[in-house]
Symmetry: C2
DNA sequence: GTCTATAATTAGATAGAC
DNA sequence: GTCTATCTAATTATAGAC
């Protein structure tokens, strides 16, 4: 018998990396479906098939777990990047299509997790605000050259948040079960107008 | 001395009606600011200056308190009624102005309380869905005569939810601190277009 | 009606054996 | 790394005295 106890040969990853990953996956799932306040560490542990103590072993606190869960795999998904790099032309459709494509596949996305958590958790509220500012507002505003750039970007945020809440959280019909194409057709031009359209008059 | 104990003369409302009202007011305030899950019965009791047991005495359960809190004073506020009774002309502005006027004054409105609670509480999610269907979708759809009436009404719901979340819950700038007039100017036409505007093409 | 217990449950977190 | 056992604190809710 060779003394394998010390050698740490990777015949199969001894240890935690696997459990840690399973916990993380499960956490994303539950945080995405029930928000921070609606998810318990115990529930995550049970669903992941490990002991609650392991969760704390790996992530320290519930907040630590949440922070790890919302951390994006590769800082920014390539799809999101291409929304902004292709200029203003047709950006409305790209915003909506990218949003829906991402969220339809899994609700374990930072946007949904944070949107579900913010209303009852102050820390999540701050995180969501920062997330939106960094990932959306700043990039949109950078494309615009008008004095009301921030406000226009803000209007797009309203579309994004409204769509996320209506389709994935409150599940209001017929928004919840409309096809991606239908929503792109409807909301794409709306977003485009927020960014490049005219404003009526400025009311005194 | 006349035996006042039994007579119940209204020199000043003996008892509970006053406490009950204070509890209800406080509950609306806290539910509106922290949602169902983020609000404890004890917090409500303390803020209202009464004992936690009183809350249960009057409302039975926490859910009972919440139900009482979201119940509107006079079934439907007159302002909301007039949005729909004045026809489609200029309805976009009326929707936005009424929404903001109501929510700016106090967040103790059913819409905010429910929107804050729905993400982490399934029962609130259902209540919010029903509330929106009854108070907004149905009334809007009734005004429209097109085959896509429901979808158009849904688009307005997205505007309302997005605005509520961006301005009052996540507090995204510059939406959060924009003036009512500014937002009416910006979102009024957008809502109008959702309802009465043209749709590009129907994309196969 | 109002308050003082207090029961029953649950959640986040830690210590320590294996 | 993993689990058992446990601590602490907070919450909903009830029983009963005043």
């Amino acid at each position: 018998m060779t003394e394998e106890g010390t050698h740490r040969r990777p015949g199969r990853w001894r240890s935690g990396a696997e459990s840690k990953q399973r916990i993380l996956d499960t956490a994303r799932d539950l945080f995405g479906r029930h928000g921070y306040g609606g998810t318990t560490v115990r529930a995550v542990a049970t669903a992941a098939g490990v002991d609650p103590a392991m969760v704390f072993y790996f992530f320290g606190t519930k907040q630590g777990l949440f922070a790890a869960a919302i951390e994006m795999s590769a800082s920014t998904p390539p799809a999101i990047e291409s929304i902004f790099t292709d200029g203003l032309d047709g950006i409305g459709e790209r915003v909506i299509r990218t949003l829906l494509d991402n969220l339809d596949n899994s609700e374990r996305t930072p946007l949904v997790m944070l949107t579900r958590s913010a209303p009852t958790d102050n820390q999540s509220e701050t995180l969501l605000r920062e997330f939106i500012d960094r990932e959306i507002t700043d990039r949109l505003a950078a494309l615009l050259d008008t004095p009301d750039a921030a406000l226009r970007a803000g209007m797009v945020n309203v579309q994004i948040l409204g769509l996320a809440v209506a389709r994935y959280i409150v599940r209001i019909e017929p928004i919840a079960s409309a096809s991606v194409e239908e929503l792109v057709t409807r909301f794409g031009p709306l977003v485009q107008q927020c960014l490049t359209g005219q404003v009526g008059d400025h009311a005194r």
